[in-house]
């Protein structure tokens, strides 16, 4: 199958108009030595029917889980049917970035509404149109802090998602920043005393996550004064977007940048991508933040309309002096999030509460098993850490039953050999949870 509409007649006429004798001639700028003699050695082309069959077959090589007890940065939530319906409108998904505002009012207004909802949920005055994901959003936040303050140290809580820390580290390395990890305390929260000790006048930012990687809700009231004492930015991240429905916005608690993962709003887990980087900041940073912004304005007749605004921050205008190199972002994922948020409305709070209750039930049942324990004491949202004699064995038993089990913390926290990070969302019914617990109880 190919999708070119050219008939032999078309080709002949067009070549004639151009004034060349053959298609080959069009490629004469490619030095002879580098011209391919043979077709690329790819699998033989398929008709659509064959291709579809192949894709169905490939998808069937995966196992659709009976349930998912894993969170750790990707969350299994119910996506209302309206979301797929709207993002499936080809006027949206086959458009480019809205450079031509007059025929792009649809997405520009939708993004403006998205920015507004994100601003409200994060408690910040401004939010951008999206970043690649929560991890790169945090990394860009750190770089923004470094550049704005002209400082070269970034502090990051060890209780931030390990992959986010790795991404921040990668971006820091490229910029020549040093990255320092701040330990967690016995409660599972950031060790503020350690933070106070580590921070100095070269610290550009303190990056934390709440709920943190252990599922624990950080108390920003303790962290904020320490971070700001030396003038560093407080960058507050999150991986679980639905927690925003329940928790006091980091913006209200003094964060300078709130960034995180928006997948939980309207986007499936997609085996890890595309996800949706959320980035919100203070008014002061408006002209420095990375990414697209949709702004309200008026047309020649004074009619309300929207444009991509403050483009002078961006690479296509400012080039090497741009605040970021981001160009294509995750607009359609932001649209999906918008649709989901509008669908939820005030019910977002109810959804978040349901998550808390489900997690508490799972946690209570599992921690009641013999030799299972709760290593941390601070309150959680829908994820929590449990220690048990053999996490790998438990996961294997779950896997056997078609269940995606928990995250074994030992990989990233060698000191936490027996710990399992688990998550319960609204997708687990009580019977599911009971079944998962029964399986765990059988593991010897």
């Amino acid at each position: 199958m190919d999708y070119t509409p050219h008939t032999p007649d078309d080709i002949a006429t067009m070549l004639q108009t151009i004034g060349v004798a053959s298609l080959d001639e069009l490629f004469s700028d490619i030095p002879e030595a580098y011209r391919l003699k043979n077709l690329p050695d790819l699998p033989a082309p398929l008709s659509e029917q064959e291709g579809w069959r192949h894709m169905v077959h490939l998808a069937a090589q995966n196992t659709l889980p009976a349930m998912t007890l894993m969170g750790a940065g990707a969350y299994h939530h119910y996506i209302p049917a309206v979301v797929g319906h709207i993002v499936g409108r080809s006027e949206f998904y086959t458009a480019y970035t809205p450079y031509q505002a007059e025929i792009s009012q649809g997405i520009l207004q939708a993004i403006y509404e998205y920015q507004t909802m994100i601003a409200r949920l994060t408690g910040m005055p401004v939010a951008n149109a999206s970043m690649y994901d929560g991890a790169s959003a945090m990394a860009e936040g750190a770089v923004l802090a470094g550049k704005t303050l002209n400082r070269d140290r970034i502090l990051i809580a060890r209780s931030v998602h390990p992959e986010y820390r790795r991404v921040v580290a990668t971006y820091c390395a490229a910029n020549g920043y040093t990255l320092l990890e701040i330990p967690y305390s016995a409660t599972g929260r950031l060790d503020t005393a350690a933070l106070a000790q580590a921070i100095d006048g070269q610290a550009a930012a303190v990056c934390i996550q709440s709920p943190n990687f252990f599922g624990i809700i950080e108390d920003l009231r303790d962290i904020e004064p320490v971070a700001h004492a030396t003038g560093a930015f407080l960058i507050s991240g999150f991986t679980e977007a639905t927690s925003l429905g329940l928790l006091k916005p980091a913006g209200e608690l003094g964060a300078d940048i709130v960034c995180g993962e928006g997948q939980g709003f309207g986007n499936p887990m997609n085996y890890g991508g595309p996800f949706l980087g959320i980035f919100a900041a203070t008014e002061k940073l408006l002209r420095k933040i990375p990414g697209r912004l949709s702004g309200m304005t008026v047309d020649l007749d004074g009619k309300r309309g929207f444009v991509l605004t403050l483009q002078a921050r961006e690479q296509h205008i400012r080039r090497e002096k741009a605040t970021s190199n981001i160009c294509t972002n995750e607009a359609l994922c932001a649209l999906a999030a918008s649709v989901h948020l509008v669908s939820l409305g005030k019910n977002l709070r109810k959804l978040a509460e349901l998550n808390v209750h489900k997690a508490r039930y799972l946690k209570g049942k599992l921690s009641a098993l013999a030799d299972w324990d709760l290593p941390f004491t601070a309150p959680v949202y829908n994820e929590f850490v449990l220690s048990c004699p053999d996490p790998e064995k438990v996961n294997a038993a779950w896997q056997e039953a078609g269940i995606v089990g928990g995250y074994t913390l030992e990989k990233d926290y060698p000191e936490r050999k027996n710990d399992l990070l688990l998550c319960a969302t609204e997708m687990l019914g009580r019977a599911d949870i009971d079944r998962a617990v029964a399986i765990a109880a059988e593991v010897r």
């Binding site: 190919d2 659509e48 190199n325 160009c327 995750e330």
Partner: protein, 481 residues
Amino acid sequence: MDLIFEKSRTGRTASDIPSVDVPSIPLEGLIDEELLRKDVDLPEVSELDLVRHFTELSRRNFGVDLGFYPLGSCTMKYNPKINEEAARLPGFTELHPYAPASFTQGNLELMYELRLMLCELFGMADFTLQPAAGAQGELTGIMICKKYFEKKGEKRTRILIPDAAHGTNPASGALCGFETVTIPSNGEGGVDIAALREAMTEAVAGLMLTNPNTLGFFEKNIGEVARIVHDRGGLLYCDGANANAFLGRTRPGDIGFDLIQLNLHKTFSTPHGCGGPGSGPVGVREDLARFLPVPRVIRDQDRYRFSEDYPDTIGRVKAFYGNFNVMVKAYTYLKLLGGEGLKRTSDMAVLNANYIKARLSPYYDLAYDRMCMHECVFSGSRQVRSHEVHTLDIAKRLLDYGFHPPTIYFPMIVPEAIMIEPTETESKETLDAFCEAMIAIAREAEENPAQVRGAPCTTPVRRLDEVLAARKPNVSWPGEK
């Protein structure tokens, strides 16, 4: 039209949360009230309100499915619907990234095979699929360059970038702490060899070259360019966003490029979604593979799994493995086209661009008069000179004719640039209709320039005040107050 916030009415809802089916206690007993949010300030509308709102918004948006979209450098080709269907299969959408490998053999195989197909198509030794878009691919590539020289114990602080380059190139260089040095174009729109030779010192990590470049030209002297860069120990980086021009005709790896980033959302027909998601794989020559981000998919006998075991890796640029669902679409596309279909893709893309060039060159000034690849660049200078009609005016007037305008004012080195990329999926009839509109506008510019300057007049809004938007930014709805 009204904002969704203006349609909100207290008490309405488009959703219904399942009731709590487990024992529960009030939240206040679990979490310090001071850490709880007071109110969720989201719009309250019915499902019908929601659907009408977003449906109406969609109808105020222009996509490829509505008409010709010759946005230069963006490769707005038609995205086959089968790609979308495949990507919606629950097997692909419903898996957690940390699901055990035994649950995800299909996904892993897809990534593994996609990598192999890209290697073959571009003549590279290996690819990472992790970057989320072209720009992140560039960043990844430049990080690899940086690490390469670090490992060699060399300190190279500069990176060379032609003046015609896309803005992401210098921005990516800068984001990696490189000083960017601009290389001018020569009279033919290619790299100025003398300038390159001079700039290419031992302090330079390499050259980021878009090929074909943003003027639509294949770098004729690419052999020479590669030699200059390599002779000084530099790396030759290819911005492969324009790969739609040469599939099956040549391979960057054969030419001497050491690294390349691709834009799957351009070349391999995954839709742009109003600005993402994309996918920006990076390919490298053999000895650079050890620097690629982790994890990487490997094959053990018949099973696939991830491996993190690459001590020299630059690390990670993104959580998890990249925009997997975008890869599904590109993979589907590659399976359907095969080598033959891909070659035809590029052939027809180049044919279409040269056809438009031929048809419009009597009416608009060509930036450079030579054979182009998949796009052609005009300058609106003649129209400015003679009638004070600017490229922006021409673009806006095209809206009234029902076409999406070309890219304008880029590349920056062409004054009043008009950058047209028709892509291969457009028919001669469509190109002709577009050319006729462009010719009509050229005529209007002579006969009735005010009409062109006043365009558009058929769109839901007329020209918008961008200055106001930037001077008094309103990027979030303050509400009724």
